[in-house]
Symmetry: C2
Subunit: 123 residues, 2 copies
Amino acid sequence: MAIADEIKIANGRFVECFRRRDAGGIAALYASGAKLLPPRSDFVLGEPSIRSFWQSVMDAGIEDAALETLELETHGDTTVEVGTYVMHAGGKVADRGKYIVIWKNEKGAWKLHRDMWNSSVAK
Amino acid sequence: MAIADEIKIANGRFVECFRRRDAGGIAALYASGAKLLPPRSDFVLGEPSIRSFWQSVMDAGIEDAALETLELETHGDTTVEVGTYVMHAGGKVADRGKYIVIWKNEKGAWKLHRDMWNSSVAK
């Protein structure tokens, strides 16, 4: 399968987990040693903290997410993705922004290794 | 020279330009086709827009910046950097956060290709 398709499937799983409020399922998409770089937060390290982070986002009312890949560049076991996201709460757009994900191929599966985003909405 | 040293020198130039309010000097550190991914803004593309962006940051009172590299990973002509920044205004910390820079080697020189950051300060 083309790497772009594999990344698309992984991003689809992320969104599916989000919709069914499965923070553990999201955390399982991350590589060992993964780090989140969320806005207004320090680095988030380790599976329990990554799971808690996404749980807190769901608890804050975010109930759906959409991801669009704009760029993918693969170097061996590493893929750099640049994309845009939209977060929904109460059926409305709660935030839209952009992200960079550094993916790592772990035992044949592409996993999120570094995950950074920020809002594109002006203050 | 080791790539880590070359990136350190490039980051040092970024900071020097900042201190002397040289937005054109900062813009010249970016690769052709570079994109900024700033918080609360859409993508910023092209040398004139990148220069204007950094000029506006300086005009907003940011007068010094410090960059610390935490991770560097090179794949051919591409280096992924993860680091932290501190921005100063009026002699005080105005913001501190983290960044991912995707560097590209252009004709032997490492240039910023994708530059994303966000604040680590809680709202």
